[in-house]
Amino acid sequence: MRGWLTVSRFGPLLIVLLGLGIIWYLAALWLNIPAQYGIYQRADVTEWSTPQLIGDAWSQQKPKLPAPHQIIAEMWQETTGYALNDKKSLIFHGWITLSATLYGFVSGTLLGIGLAIAIVLNRATNRSLMPWIIASQAVPILAIAPMIVVIGYNVMAGALDLPTDAARLVSKAVISAYLAFFPVTVGMVKGLRSPEIIQLDLMRTYNASAAQTFWKLRWPSAMPFLFTSMKVAIAAAVIGTVVGELPTGATGGIGARLLSGSQFGQTLQIWAALFAASALSALLVIIVGVAERLVFARMGVKP
């Protein structure tokens, strides 16, 4: 048992998680007890025992740091306590975020792959695009998220007469695509260039056309790179969507929950939204991982 806890793959992780949980509970006490005194004072409670104080500090309405069980209870309440189309349901907001994320991720990935192909196949595109793609990463793209959302929404809902929900969705998906395309482009450029010269030469000895070399050599050898960067991209796409939901006007989505929670000081709601976003992100990364395994199995990669 002792050996398992300290040496195996999951033992240390478990212990560290437990330790973090204990630290969290202690920190919640440290941060919440001062406020608890104030609550007692206002409620004219003069006598309290230490266990009572601790219990109350872990179950405040608006704690500075909610205890983990409070967050889980709040998430449970927000997911199961309301109808799916209720404005208070976390599933309702999660779905809004998820759909925009998926649109953004798919279009960002396609754009990223397209750019990578153009860069790898053409020397001029490589020279003209690559420095700017790298530079685009040094620009805080997320900073313009509110502008893209507000203006995109106004243009699409006003000038183009799109329904408001679709307009909101598209403007969020644009940001999430902008964040998602970069890792895919960089990864795919690396991947499409990963065949060694000896392999490319072999294709030449087979008299393979450019298209054949691409589909039979470059594309398959880029697959590991594609999936690795897609995992980064989908996590980035979630971030892009959540930030895109921050500007006022967005009424749905996990980002909107974060913002309204912060405006009304509802810390439990903020934490629940944060955990929901994390769960969503983790789930999506896992799905990409499963897809990766399926594709590799189909391609005949031995584990």
Partner: protein
Amino acid sequence: MMPELTRLQSLLALLAGGISLLAVLTELVTGMTAPLPLLAVLVIGAVTLIRVRSSLNFWLDGLLSVLGAVLLLSVLPFDGAAPLSYWLAMAAAWLFGWLFADQLAMALHRREVHGAFGVLIPLMFGAALLVLWEACTRAGHVPQVILPAPSMIWARLLQSPGTLFADFVQTFVKAVLSGYVLGCGLGFAVAILVDRSPFFKKGLLPLGNFISALPIIGIAPILVLWFGYDWQSKAAVVVVLVFFPMLVNTVAGLNAASAMERDLMRTYASSYWQTLFKLRLPAAAPFIFNALKINSTLALIGAIVAEFFGTPIVGMGFRISTEVGRLNVDMVWAEIAVAAVAGSAFYGLIALIERAITFWHPSIRGG
């Protein structure tokens, strides 16, 4: 089909020349409204179609593209809708630029021109984007609310340097720099500690990797509640954001030195600290700089996004969100330009330091 041109280049050449010819013809039909120099350049562009018979120097294409761009900008603004020939000329200038870049890239590859000319291609691409942006927004009368022209953003930059500078100091100098130094320092220190214990390495690393993939930026509203509205809360967001990439990369880097090299250090009877400073940290430097570069952009993003959750009335994120609400889009873009320049400069500075410190690494020696 044409001598010395690839299929793509022939297509570009035909299109560029053909569209120039078309522009000249539309001008003939509509009665010569375009100014003479632009017309002259278009005629030369149309004449390049003789390429079918005899090859032309690609510098001519570049010259045509640049001249075209300058003339396109000089005839702005139009009172009414821009004539068809204007849009045709714009397309032709873009195509000539592309043709030039493609041929230059090929010449560079064959070492027919000096390698220093390679800088021209990305520069021309950037300049072409700016020209296109300026010409399209002004000739197409795009409402300023949707997309202001670059010249307008530049004018705004020159008009209100005071506000922009105050925002820059609040967001970048106070929040980003302090948070960046603190967060990276913490991540580095924890990585060194974790590295000494295989137990913590096993426990913390999967967690750090996992957390790096989460939308940590969502912690911003909580930290704003904890640390108040001023820059301290933004710095705290930056600390949390940059901590995990630094931790994960440094630990990975500390494992980069091979067993052989470590054994060599052991045969020298070097202590833990000697091995750390003389072998493992230098070997980890590429990884550490990778984290520092990733973090430089993360930090700026974190500080700006955190400002959406409440700030004093100064700061880049605050300015962006309020000016969007007031539809002063030129101010928003000026703020973005400042952020872009600051972000790129920050990134560039770290890349320069990296070159100086990890001069031995193959990616920098160019080997």
